[in-house]
Subunit: 221 residues, 2 copies
């Protein structure tokens, strides 16, 4: 039955991550759901059998996307019912406040600060976002070069987009992914504004005091 597929928290998180219409790899989905790749593989097989997602092989990756808009529509309907009764999903994002504030999503910044950063970029017309597509403006290129020493040619990649909207796990809004998102996160680390938590496997990103200030100066509200 379809409903039981959506009913499991891990699968629900995967489906939510796919709600922006983009395809994600199995391991990305595993990370989103907070489970190991083995478990994710099992879940994805079930979702595929149930017709909720469709796989697409590409090299050694397996991209998954929602089958079509009907699936997305039903998921929205369910979310609507859940919101109405206050019975939001069981596992809505991480509990840990540090994780909610700033964490690594694949290789870029996520959490409250990640969402805030994209908000700021958009508001100041450094990027242009239409639906899920994000484009760097000329102004944006100048901004990156000036403040973060990031040039456009560092960002080109055969298969990966420069900008990409990534649905934030805890905030349920977009943050910036793509090669630009990764480059910015890397730059933050190089500038010693922030660093991944040394705990093995932790996704928390700790900002230094000066890093916090600089970040706020560039992307603050």
């Amino acid at each position: 039955m379809v409903a039981s597929l959506v009913g499991d928290p891990a699968r629900a998180n995967m489906l939510t991550a796919l709600m922006n219409g983009r395809a994600l790899t199995a391991s990305e989905l595993a990370q989103e759901a907070g489970i190991t790749p083995q478990t994710a593989s099992s879940h994805l097989a079930k979702l595929e059998a149930g017709g909720l997602v469709e796989p697409e092989k590409q090299g050694r990756h397996r991209y998954y996307r929602l089958t079509d808009d009907d699936v997305a529509g039903v998921l929205e309907g369910l979310a609507g019912l859940a919101a109405r009764t206050g019975h939001m999903r069981v596992r809505t994002g991480p509990k840990d406040p540090a994780l909610r504030r700033a964490r690594i999503c694949y290789d870029h910044l996520a959490g409250d600060l990640g969402v805030q950063m994209l908000d700021s970029l958009r508001e100041r017309h450094l990027v242009r976002q239409r639906k899920q597509e994000i484009e760097l403006t000329a102004e944006g290129e100048r901004f990156l070069a000036k403040h973060l020493q990031i040039s456009p040619d560092m960002l080109s990649h055969p298969r990966r987009p420069v900008c990409k909207a990534c649905l934030d796990w805890s905030e349920r809004r977009h943050h910036l992914a793509g090669t630009l998102g990764a480059a910015m996160m890397q730059r933050f680390a190089e500038l010693k504004w922030a660093a991944r938590d040394p705990t093995p496997g932790s996704r928390v990103v700790n900002f230094t005091r000066t890093g916090e200030k600089q970040f706020a100066a560039l992307f603050g509200k």
Copy 2:
């Protein structure tokens, strides 16, 4: 989470039994689901907590009904997905012939007549459908103004689309949703072509004799 509530087979059977809009007692639902009253009681408590059903005490009986048409609509959507992949439960769609012919889905017309209507609109180029997206043509606007006194400005809504394809529970094909679908259903009622069945909670839509004729004249094959 709502989906996990619907996911359990016993609860799904109960909800299916309630899909015709009538209220059933706890023991009737237990029998429908093939479980003992104790188990049913536990399930019904959960469904009530999840906002899917509402109880009504009457003597020593406890009648349960679906909370509202939104719930029914989401269940239809799930059933539609399930039907599509062949992962159907017991029977496809409602048993009641009246319900199969014409019923309310959220706020628009569903069932045989609903599907027939969208078929007709598409065939006569009054709407243009590409995948799940439906668009009203200029011809279509003239048609609506002339025959149903519906003007485009009545249909605009900040967040809801004018036209939308909704997967039909019993027919497994699309019918027309969106503000236009709602407006048309409302107009049918105002013109006394059709009315929702007076039985409390029933989702059946009864067409009058003249309504049937007029509908057939506009949307007949």
